[in-house]
Amino acid sequence: MYRIGFRAMGSGCEIVIASTAKKEAKAIAALGIREAGRIESKYSRYLAGSIVSRINAAAADNRVECDEETCALFDYADVLYQSSGGLFDITSGVLRKAWDFSREEVPDPESLFPLLKLIGWQRVERKGSAVRLPIEGMQIDFGGIGKEYAADTVATLLHEKGIRHGYVNLAGDIRVIGPKPDGGPWTIGIRDPRNSDRMIASIPVYSGGLATSGDYERYFDKDGRRYCHIINPVTGYPVNFWRSVTVLAPLATTAGSCTTIAMLKESEGLNYLRESGMMYLAIDQYGKIYHND
């Protein structure tokens, strides 16, 4: 079994490949790393030339032509928006301007108001493969989808290259390529959202994708309340109900979207998870654990 570590999406990532010669495993993993890097660059809002930066820069101005992959991601974002009652909105990233986690300050409601006016996926104009943001300052951001999508494409690529046993782990979002060589499951640990050194559960995974959203990734604590990076696009305030939500789904992308929507739905999240039919493990603000039987 070979574990090939690399850095992507701002974190440590790994590709684990079993039952292949070492040289071959390394060469194939390199292709996977390249694929993860390709997606990261393509959808980074920090890189001036990326499709996301070009669409954002052209807000209130031109339409931007998108390739097939980007159009498919927009279609998916649309599904998420509709199925979450508008809570999962890829135009909500603009709230970052008010929520600067390095400054640890709760913004004034007045400073949120002009930003809230820039949010609304339903207002994004799509014509064929072209996209236009109608308002100056409006932004799209694939931050809530990109990492899990990359885990899926990397795993698919490795499978196409003949890998049958292994998994891809992009900063905790996992897509299994195939079970262990003996047919057994990979044991994936779920970390304690309040103690990163401790595992709170371990889940046997034969196939599919496992993703976790939590209030511990980027956050600050102030006056006894935690302000995390998952922000409700309607209120402009961070969600506060769940410490973490983990979902096992056929794809890492689906798992990731489910966890984020459950976080966003707060107290309604549990019903949403139950109805989704996916396997889940959720931990609320008091540390109570919920999972399917």
Binding site: M9, S11, I33, R34, G37, L47, A48, G143
Partner: protein
């Protein structure tokens, strides 16, 4: 080697420091009588740096980066036995390019292109003037400095004082300085996201408290604290992705021990400096040099230095995207407010060695030659985890100096 300053200011501070060492008051560790002789001196410096891709991750990254030729003139005149006026003037020209991120992203235009200013064969002029008053038990110095290049202007004032006890065995130093910098952001080479007509500004205040104690006739120890508070434009206009906080405090503690060996008549100078800033960089610098006078006016000074620093909190290490294709920088982590891929903010260790040879030619003439070699490696860091994606970095420094007393 200062870790977070630009290459250019590193070169300059080295030059100014070496020029200042010509001033007798700076040579002795404690306050002294005003010098009786005037000095004029000239130095030539050639600085050359390069990166070498010595590992699997950085293979193929070897290349030359920056070359600097600098000429400096200094003079110091005593006035009425109680005053000195010292001045330095420096002109340098810089060619070459530094990377826009990590060890990659060099400008595609080659010959004589300077990535750090966008001009070819960039010239820089700098000067400073210091007036010192000597008292029976101390000194007071007022200094001013100015440096200008096409895209950067820096102005500074400083006030420094020393006060010694009656027996002159203990000296207290106090200093304060103010610097105001103007950074042009309208040059064509400034990255698109940072282009704007209004220049960036930076204001930096600093203070120093130090104590020097003569322990015996052969031993002097010194302890210095400095505090620096800077506000303004800290991002690098020529680097992307690179957005830095607009505030930086720096704390340093420096200890020094000079020991004179009577028998060979040599002096060892040992120092250790701890550096900490609000960017998250922590650094340890160990310095050792030994000055050995020889017959016929020769003097040899070998030196070694080790520096190790941790990375800035917002340093983004080389990631998959850049590894796969070095023409693409590593995207900063999602949600990051500040980020930089400047290798000077990464964790690394650096080892330098050098030798200075000086010769007193008689009739008050002194010449010296100094050679210094600096090597920086990600895996030499002792207080952090280096970034294996950053190429090794090397500097070669040559100085020639001549001075005369009157």
């Amino acid at each position: 080697m200062a870790m977070v300053s630009t290459t250019k200011s590193t070169v300059f501070s080295a030059l100014i420091a070496s020029a200042a060492m010509l001033i007798p008051s700076a040579k002795s560790a404690y306050a002294d009588a005003a010098p009786e002789q005037a000095i004029v001196g000239m130095k030539y410096l050639n600085y050359h740096d390069s990166q070498s891709g010595d590992t699997a991750q950085t293979a193929g990254m070897s290349r030359d980066r920056i070359n600097v030729n600098a000429l400096s003139f200094m003079g110091m005149v005593p006035i009425a036995g109680k005053w000195t006026v010292a001045a330095t003037f420096i002109e340098d020209s810089i060619t070459g390019a530094s990377p826009a991120y990590h060890s990659s992203g060099f400008p595609s235009r080659t010959a004589n292109h300077d990535a750090s200013s966008g001009a070819s064969g960039e010239l820089r002029h700098a000067g400073d003037l210091t007036v010192t008053r000597y008292f029976s038990r101390g000194t007071l110095s007022l200094g001013t400095s100015y440096s200008q290049e096409s895209d950067y202007i820096s102005r500074g004032v400083s006030l420094n004082g020393t006060l010694s006890t009656e027996d002159k065995n203990t000296t207290l130093s106090l200093g304060t300085a103010y610097n105001s910098d103007t950074i042009s952001l309208d040059k064509p080479a400034v990255v698109a996201s940072k282009q704007r007509v209004a220049p960036g500004r930076k204001k930096v205040y600093s203070g120093l408290v130090g104590i020097t104690r003569v322990l015996s006739k052969n031993d002097i120890v010194q302890l210095n604290f400095t505090y620096t508070d800077g506000q303004g434009y800290y991002s690098d206009p020529y680097k992307a992705p690179d957005v830095r906080p607009s505030h930086r405090n720096i704390y340093t503690v420096m200890t020094r021990w000079n020991h004179h060996f009577e028998d060979p008549d040599g002096t060892a100078r040992l120092s250790y400096r701890y550096y900490s800033d609000t960017f998250g960089v922590r650094a340890h610098t160990f310095d050792a040099e030994y000055v050995q006078p020889l017959s016929n006016g020769w003097e040899l000074t070998p030196m070694v230095r080790f520096h190790s620093q941790s990375a800035a909190d917002f340093y983004v290490p080389v990631g998959a995207a850049e590894l796969a294709d070095p023409s693409t920088p590593t995207p900063p982590p999602p949600g990051a407010a500040f980020y930089s891929e400047d290798q000077r903010l990464s964790a690394f260790g650096a080892f330098s060695y050098g030798l200075k040879v000086s010769k007193d030619l008689g009739r008050s003439w002194l010449v010296d030659v100094k050679y210094e070699h600096y090597q920086q490696r990600y895996n030499w860091c002792i207080n952090g985890h280096g970034d294996p994606g950053v190429a090794n970095f090397n500097i070669r420094d040559i100085q020639l100096g001549i001075s005369r007393k009157f």
